[in-house]
């Protein structure tokens, strides 16, 4: 079942003097299944935040349709099901964390007793214990980000839209957020997020969409993308002379008394391994080197 479905989303802006029209989104199609984590990737200015703002009804699309569980995403019914964390969130600095969460709960008409329990739980989940009564003007960027996540989860949403959720977090915070997001996925929640931190994305997402210049240039299951993209194989060996190895395959580098041979052709593996053994060398490992998400992303960027 599709939780988030974006069809032919187009958005353009006019310049200040209404002369030039800037096409930011040129027909975006995205679909996210229930319980999936979707990573939305793209360089600065590609249209990630514009897409997210269109989903949240902060911008009006020129064309296209955005549905959340079959309802228009900007509708009140859809917004009841969405938790949203904006990029670099800013909250009322005259409130404390607890007050802000109570205010957020009031916007969902959550009864006070239920809200209190939920807020206690969320404060613990995002690691803000002991800071719940601190005014937000004294919050660091990382703490604000944690609070942003807590307010996004206030009504226990079925779908989370997170714009750069890892920004401002230290490595421990990033790890905690990753665990939290995976935990939410475990609860069956659908998560759509944009990020620049590709390593984090690679560790979590089921599906990836790469947006470049307002178009989705590549989209699919991350596992399939990576599985289909083994770049080359490496053979690590030792106890063999450089002279002997040059005869077997000249494409190698030496490192710590070991040699790393690079093979572009999978069919050559057996032949090279046998030759090393034949020369009394020791084969330590044969590793397939796959493309990372970063490699895939950079390749897409180069191709567009």
């Amino acid at each position: 079942m599709k939780t988030l479905e974006i069809t032919n989303l187009k958005k353009s802006f006019r310049s200040n003097f209404l002369i030039k029209k800037y096409h930011i989104l040129k027909g975006i199609d995205i679909s996210v299944e229930q319980g999936e984590i979707y990573g939305f990737l793209g360089p600065n200015g590609a249209g990630k935040t514009t897409t997210i703002k269109c989903i949240m009804g902060l911008l009006f699309p020129n064309e296209g349709e955005i549905l959340v569980n079959g309802q228009p995403s900007a509708s009140i019914a859809a917004r009841r099901q969405i938790g949203f964390l904006p990029e670099n969130p800013y909250f009322y600095d005259y409130l404390s964390a607890s007050e802000l969460l109570h205010f957020s709960a009031s916007l969902f008409a959550i009864p006070a007793t239920v809200a209190r329990e939920r807020i206690d739980l969320l404060i613990k989940q995002v690691g803000l214990e002991g800071h719940e009564h601190l005014k937000l003007r004294k919050f660091s960027k990382g703490m604000t980000q944690r609070l942003g996540m807590a307010q996004a989860l206030i009504q226990d949403p079925v779908c989370l839209i997170l714009d750069e959720p890892f920004s401002g977090l230290d490595p421990i915070g990033r790890k905690e957020f990753r665990d939290l997001i995976l935990n939410l996925k475990g609860q069956g929640k659908t998560i759509f997020f944009s990020s620049h931190i590709l390593q984090d994305m690679e560790m979590m997402v089921d599906k990836v969409g790469i947006i470049i210049n307002g178009r989705i240039s590549r989209q699919g299951q991350l596992s399939e993308m990576i599985a289909s993209s083994t770049q080359y194989h490496e053979i690590v060996c030792s106890r063999i002379s450089e002279k002997q190895l040059t005869k077997i395959n000249p494409n190698f580098v030496s490192h710590d008394n070991q040699f790393i041979i690079t093979l572009d052709n999978e069919a050559d593996i057996n032949l090279v391994v046998e030759s090393i053994i034949h020369n009394n060398g020791l084969v330590i490992a044969v590793n397939p080197v796959k493309k990372t998400l970063e490699d895939i992303f950079l390749k897409e960027l180069r191709e567009v």
Binding site: M56, L58, F91, L107
Partner: protein, 254 residues
């Protein structure tokens, strides 16, 4: 429910911001002026105290209404706190109505605090409780609600400086509406005359809410006029909020 939440949050924002500083400032000025009055006046001390006191309350309340009104929506957009509101199940209409009621509550609390100080001072100099003064504060409150609605309208599409200029201009025009009829009779072009006539009905006639002379000089007041002013305020506020909502529905947040 979310209108109530928005209204209370707006009240919290105003109360934790400038309003209390202004109230303190007002309290000091007011206390000082009443001391001065008791030293300097030869005639009816209570009448002079009422005159200066009500004028001071009027002035400070209008200031609070304009300054809080012009900043609220603009700040929400500028600081992007609005993203967190409009991404929740809150319509844009609810947002504007919530802001208005929050401001209305802010003005009510400010007015009650100032009126309280005023009544205490009147009692201290030997005056009694006057129902007409209560009516004065009620009429002032209606005027303040119109000012708040005007500032909210400008705040929904322009910067605080421009909103301030527009709101103050309308406030000043609103108090000289009686000149429009005189001005109209001087015009020779029927088209201009019609235009002035139209402006007379479009622009806020805030003088309808000024009953200071009746209160201070103890002049008679007509119930019909008061009731018409109340109706006028309600209709005018609803019209302003409708226009604000229509503008706000079309706004995009970059």
């Amino acid at each position: 429910m979310n209108i109530k939440g928005l209204a209370f949050n707006t009240f919290k924002e105003s109360a934790r911001n400038k309003m209390f500083y202004l109230l303190v400032f007002f309290g000091i000025i007011f206390a000082l002026s009443s001391k001065l009055i008791s030293f300097l006046t030869l005639g009816d001390t209570i009448k002079v105290l009422k005159d200066t006191g009500l004028a001071a309350i009027n002035f400070f309340c209008v200031l609070i209404a304009i300054f809080t009104g012009i900043n609220l929506v603009y700040k929400e957009i500028e600081k992007k706190t609005i993203f967190n509101i409009l991404s929740k199940p809150v319509t844009r209409d609810h947002f504007i109505i919530g802001k208005f009621f929050g401001l209305a509550l802010t003005m009510l609390v400010a007015l009650i605090a100032m009126a309280g100080i005023f009544f205490i001072l009147v009692l201290l100099v030997g005056g009694g409780f006057d129902f007409k003064i209560l009516l004065y504060f009620f009429m002032l409150y209606l005027e303040l609600l119109i000012i708040v609605a005007i500032s909210l309208l400008f705040s929904s599409f322009s910067t605080p400086i421009l909103s301030f200029i527009f709101t103050v201009s309308l406030y000043l025009i609103g108090h000289i509406m009686w000149t429009f009829n005189e001005f109209k009779s001087l015009l020779r072009s029927p088209l201009l005359e019609k235009f002035t006539h139209m402006l007379y009905y479009i622009l806020p006639n805030l003088d309808k809410f000024n009953i200071k002379n009746e209160v201070v000089l103890d002049l008679p007041m007509r119930t019909g006029t008061i009731l018409f002013s109340i109706l006028y305020a309600l209709v005018y506020i609803m019209a302003l909020l409708t226009v604000t909502i229509m503008i706000f529905r079309k706004r995009e947040f970059l």
